[in-house]
Symmetry: C2
Subunit: 278 residues, 2 copies
Amino acid sequence: MVEKTPGENAHPFDRATRTTLIDGRLRGIASKDYWAFVGPFGGATGATLLRAMQEHPDRAGDPLTVTVNFCAPLALEEFDVHLRLLRANRSSQHWMAELTQGDNGVVAFATAVFATRRESWSHQQTPMPAAPSPDQIAPLPNAGIANWTEQYQFRFVDGTPEYNGETRREKPASACSRMWLSDTTPRPVDFLSLLSMSDTFFARIFHVLGVIVPIGTVSITTAFHADAADLAAENTTTVLGVADANIFHKNYSDQTGQLWSPNGRLLATTTQTCYFKA
Amino acid sequence: MVEKTPGENAHPFDRATRTTLIDGRLRGIASKDYWAFVGPFGGATGATLLRAMQEHPDRAGDPLTVTVNFCAPLALEEFDVHLRLLRANRSSQHWMAELTQGDNGVVAFATAVFATRRESWSHQQTPMPAAPSPDQIAPLPNAGIANWTEQYQFRFVDGTPEYNGETRREKPASACSRMWLSDTTPRPVDFLSLLSMSDTFFARIFHVLGVIVPIGTVSITTAFHADAADLAAENTTTVLGVADANIFHKNYSDQTGQLWSPNGRLLATTTQTCYFKA
């Protein structure tokens, strides 16, 4: 499912997340296409680490759960990825990927469980939230917020961002939003794009306070509820993303999210811890 | 807040989660008090790793988010814990703890972010679910399920486990349960017990199918929404635990959970990926 070392004509997301083995070192460089404010969009960095693990010849099975920690801003220069197979069992593997950049040490790292999933009793407890079809909703105009937002089409069902400068500190708005999400250049949804998409939700504090404040994802965990065969069967370039938060306290908030296929299948769930200054 | 190298008279949980530095190696042994079926209760193992990180002299700040991966059953013999400070910033740190056991390699590992949290805008979006007070609910009788369940008092508000052998494969029951939870020997709730408590929810598939099937937590992520000062102010030995699941598919399910103080404060949220055979 993963195209190895995508070329210059590959999808921008594949170019942004590729690494190349040179003299025994796995190297890469962030893409300006997915640049955020002080570094690349975290979803692209996470997908870079997951792609490196997926492309390793010893990897077996599909990603089951991935945790990515963001330690410091990634500079727009070459980085190294160090892979380690912490444990291999009969039908599961535990991997770690560390991204280092010169003298700057560990800038980001990810741990992931891969598993060979077999047929079992299957039951989706949670129904897909109702939503009008994506072609009925205009995408959010890109107001030059950041390069990475140009790479996605955000079609908000509710919780459309309104940053009007009026702070809602006394009467915070809902933290929940629902949006149809797709790559601007359509790309079939796979594990890499699901991981990246799970970090595309605008910070919940923007929604709640109605203003943009300094934020940064510290750690994100995404669990996949479909294997490669399931994703191939869905064959979609669009997902419904639902995000919410429970609490904002002492500079950190949580964020929960779900990514649904248009057919109503829950593809991934995600939680993150997000720094904020407000 | 953490008692270092608890002695033989310490609380069973503190004895179960201690490690000792011997000749430069951090060593420990699982406790029979928290034994499960094929190894110790995962919550105790996770707390052992978090305690080791917390007790390290270079650790600064309080735990913010912890991910524990369970790679293989832990044997009832000595283990080593290897700590690594992956990154230290001005007000946050990224740590890793690996548990190895002789020739068996990595049996479990944890990554954690620690942070010095400062006052900020604070808002709890989600209200605490209504529940009768714990003294109105009889604890679940311990039917010798496993040693570890004797260490906790489970007072179910709803979703009381009923494993009557009638499978509910065609009409699965709710995956949601609410329970008051406390250590059998009362112990003030701290980060270690919150992490452990976040793995005390009985597997969602037991609730949904009404039968006990083989299960095992693969990876758990717990985020703390209170710092040490907040926890000290709550000064509670009891929490309300709410757990749910979205999906059971191809041998794996998710599980979401919340731990509330009796005062209505959200102390921690948790998600896990759980293997099941059904």
